[in-house]
Symmetry: C2
Subunit: 462 residues, 2 copies
């Protein structure tokens, strides 16, 4: 789309922001050209701008729009769908240097920060004030709050506490023409106008570039974490336990499932002795305080045991809670030791989790690939992890077929093709099939209304 | 805008839906021409269609769009901002006959219903299955779930449980061209595409007509309501108590304030003896179970007393809880006995509630009108109720000035001009001032993208 010579682009950008924050060396262009998604396409950009302020983002976008150069925004690049991947001749705007927490309002329980603040850093900053920011994507140590908002990131505690969207009160956004707008509010409630904040959250940089985020916070006090784990002889038995927890009217603060393949990978790596004949590990948290919390944790342990769970353990101090959840934390790195991991992200009705996991096993067998599973079982949100050996192109082709098959099965079970990772590039075909022609037209109409020249994050969205 | 003769419109509509559900008698045209907002403008429509099915809404909207007739959708007409008010030559589509609860999914904890289902009826239907739909606007006995979604209605428990938007998983919507689309999902999580569901929620019928709503539910069990009330000698003391509850990291399930004027109106009506020298009544609920709940309620009572509260009472059975909250339920009817009530709805930062209430008293004095206040104090959401005598046009003019003054004061304190009632007609000027030119342009762009001919709810939106 660009009609401007690369050197002209660099010169123009260096006139807009400090020259040393406009990168065009090959290593940088490569490094910033993709996120953490395996096998999503990308081409090197013309330049990478490391923005420090909303005004710089505005200046670059305005210049790009006027010169028919496309712009791909980017946080920490931890996405797993290719949503931050570059196309040829585009400019990457990285927000990773925008790391200021601008305001923590204790009375109103909100925090306002620049987009590049790491989730855990925001969490730590508000904890000092006795406040808690719940959304906890697995990437929380490395992903940014701006990226979390742009993808509407989920996490482990969202089974009880909701996802990023549920906490975003307001945004500062650079629009496609370079305008800076402040959307949303700082008050607890508000219905003034369309909810453009919610429209931008999860739009993956295709409608505007989020430069500041105002998030709602909860009190840090008033929670006591307890963990309960149990090993199950089959996926079916674990599914019975998940249903039993729901039927008991319990809303756990976490309900995670690790399947046999994933469990063995962790155990092999760590040298753990697993109980005999175990297939599936379930890990729950409850966070009610005092006697209620103790009773609830005991009830979950009982439901696990009644559903066929063995080696059921219960922990009520933070060190032990973390120990019981260790397998969850080690799952992804354990699999990455075996080769590149293509991470799936599908969400089905909770009760369809065992059936979906069976179908995933069938897809693995049919296409002769290794698929391990981590699942937010309480949400029906599954992460099949497709592992192939380095450089095995044939396996990679089979993995892609398994990936597509999983998306089809998810849709057949009434699910949605991305639960929390976003559409990016990898889920575009599945999302198109799921949404249907008229809803896609609405997407195109909204995109055209807010970015008529198609400047923002080309190739994503619809 | 219409170029079609009224009789032609009636004939066309009667060919699309059953003739007896197309009304054009004067009484019906008058009855359906406005909602419950005082003093918002309206003109009689050409016809009222009582739709029974999404397909009928679709047929009417498609015909209207093709014939340049405008359409105003309507639930129960309980709105307080004029959002359902008619303009001349338009067609009203009432959804009040669409009262089927279509599905209650216990395992997934959602319910799908037609738009015309009354909030309390939905609540009752899901309660039979052990489930709970939290959003509880004061109109819950008479307002529809479709109207609640179209206005993103709030309520008393949203200080802890959130507003309507937080519970809407999906919608069936008739678009401006008559297309029927299904937005959102039935799964617990999902990020496939733009959040058009959230965009439609709160858009007051200007982007599409909501005909079905899928809402997320919570377990009915696991809550025990306790109420705590206290009378305070001043607004300031009540404000100190509200802040003390927040500082103690307590998130109450309700935190309502009734000011002196409102309290006296209720007491006079009911013949209650109020404690000496009381100015403000605070009413809180907590709903944690067992010992935690008891301890929390006792702590709130203690904080009320420490902040100067007198006659502090605590109740832990439902009959007593309802008795303690009786003044809240009687507040609006008590004031309506005195004359027409213009209901304000502004939201300020929680800590600005006492200052905002002082400014409202100043506005009442300056413009010589009676203003009573109900406030969702825990949310900073105030409802100044401006009362004038029947037929007193001078008082009505002064009331309008006071209304505008309150909106200005709210903005000056960092608030938003509508917390939960919607922009409708009454808040259009305030909303325009709050949003600013570029964000208004975004609204216009989105509206034009989804309703290019301006068929839907003319005169509302931006």
């Amino acid at each position: 789309m660009t009609t401007v010579a690369p050197s002209t682009v660099i010169d123009a950008l260096r006139a807009l922001v400090a020259p040393d924050r406009v990168l065009d060396d090959e290593a940088s262009l490569d490094r910033y050209s993709h996120d953490d998604a395996e096998w999503a396409d990308y081409e090197p950009p013309l330049a990478v701008v490391l923005a420090r302020a909303t005004e710089e983002v505005s200046a670059v976008v305005a210049w790009a729009g006027a010169n028919q150069v496309r712009v791909v925004p980017r946080g920490a690049g931890t996405g797993l769908s290719g949503g931050a991947n570059s196309i040829a001749s585009c400019v990457i705007i990285s927000l990773e240097l925008m790391t200021a927490v601008l305001e923590i309002n204790v009375g109103e329980r909100y925090a306002r920060s620049q987009a590049g603040v790491i989730n855990n850093d925001l969490r730590a900053a508000v904890a000092v004030e006795g406040l808690w920011y719940p959304p906890d994507p697995a990437s929380q140590a490395i992903s940014t709050i701006g990226g979390n908002a742009a993808t509407n990131a989920g996490g482990i505690c969202c089974v009880k506490y909701g996802v990023t969207r549920d906490y975003v009160l307001g945004l500062t956004v650079v629009l496609a023409d370079g305008s800076i707008v402040h959307l949303g509010r700082h008050t607890a409630k508000g219905v003034t106008g369309y909810d453009l904040t919610a429209l931008i959250v999860g739009s993956e940089g295709t409608l505007g570039i989020i430069t500041e985020v105002t998030v709602k916070l909860l009190p840090l006090a008033g929670r006591e974490e307890r963990a309960i784990i149990g090993y199950f002889p089959s996926l079916h038995a674990a599914g019975v336990a998940v249903a039993a927890v729901a039927d008991a009217s319990i809303v756990p603060a976490a309900l995670e499932l690790i399947d046999r393949t994933c469990l063995r990978a962790v155990a092999d790596w760590q040298g753990w002795d697993l109980p005999q004949d175990v297939d599936t590990l379930l890990m729950a948290k409850v966070d009610e305080v005092g006697e209620s919390g103790r009773a609830l944790a005991a009830r979950v342990a009982e439901l696990f045991a009644d559903s066929g769970g063995v080696n059921v353990e219960l922990a009520d101090d933070q060190v032990e809670v973390d120990r019981l959840f260790l397998a969850r934390r080690l799952a992804y790195p354990a699999l990455e030791r075996l080769g590149p991991v293509l991470t799936e992200d599908v969400c089905v009705p909770r009760e369809a989790v065992p059936e979906m996991l069976s179908r995933i096993q069938a897809a693995a067998a049919e296409h002769d690939v290794v698929i391990a599973n981590i699942a937010h079982a309480g949400d029906g949100n599954l992460h099949p992890l497709i592992v192939t050996a380095v450089g095995d192109d044939a396996a990679r082709a089979r993995a892609k077929l398994a990936f597509d098959r999983i998306v089809e099965d998810c849709s057949a079970l009434g699910g949605t093709v991305t639960g929390e990772h976003g559409v990016g590039l990898l889920k575009l075909p599945g999302a198109r099939a799921e949404l249907g022609a008229r809803v896609l037209q609405m997407h195109a109409d909204v995109k055209h209304a807010l970015d008529p020249a198609g400047t923002l994050n080309p190739g994503k969205g619809f």
